[in-house]
Symmetry: C2
Subunit: 85 residues, 2 copies
């Protein structure tokens, strides 16, 4: 078993309202960044786990995302990186 560090991005599904992103974009305009056109706010998770190889680590994190970490109705997730720790 090798230890892997798996990074995951969980983001609001495209087309759904992202009120937090809207609030951040408005705040940035107020602070003097008028060039900002859009902001999306999601979560960045780094999961350290043991697995026999990188594919198995990724598979297991995908399973965690579907079952606990991402809301299947409102969020999408993607595995950003799998690196041996």
């Amino acid at each position: 078993m090798t230890r892997f560090r798996v990074s995951v991005h969980i983001v609001p599904r495209k087309g759904l309202l992202d009120p937090q992103g809207k609030a951040v974009a408005d705040a940035l305009h107020t602070l003097g960044f008028p060039t900002v056109t859009d902001v999306h706010v999601g979560r960045h998770l780094v999961i350290e786990t043991s697995a026999s190889d990188a594919r198995q680590a990724e598979e297991s994190v995908r399973d965690m995302c579907s079952r606990l970490l991402a809301n299947p109705v409102t969020e999408d997730f993607e595995i950003a990186a799998v690196v041996a720790a």
Copy 2:
């Protein structure tokens, strides 16, 4: 001016308590993922902004992070990617 999509990771500073990550790790153990050793939960922001080149876009997002998006006492941020949109 070109439009750029800049991705940022904002994570709890190393060594500081990450109660949300601890809670997620515990929940994953309960759900049947005993191989998980550690979880860190941060934010993943995607900022769409206009700039004359990629370097200027990155510089401007760095400034946004220092001034609004990241808590300088408890969080670290890194620019994960700058792509032309």
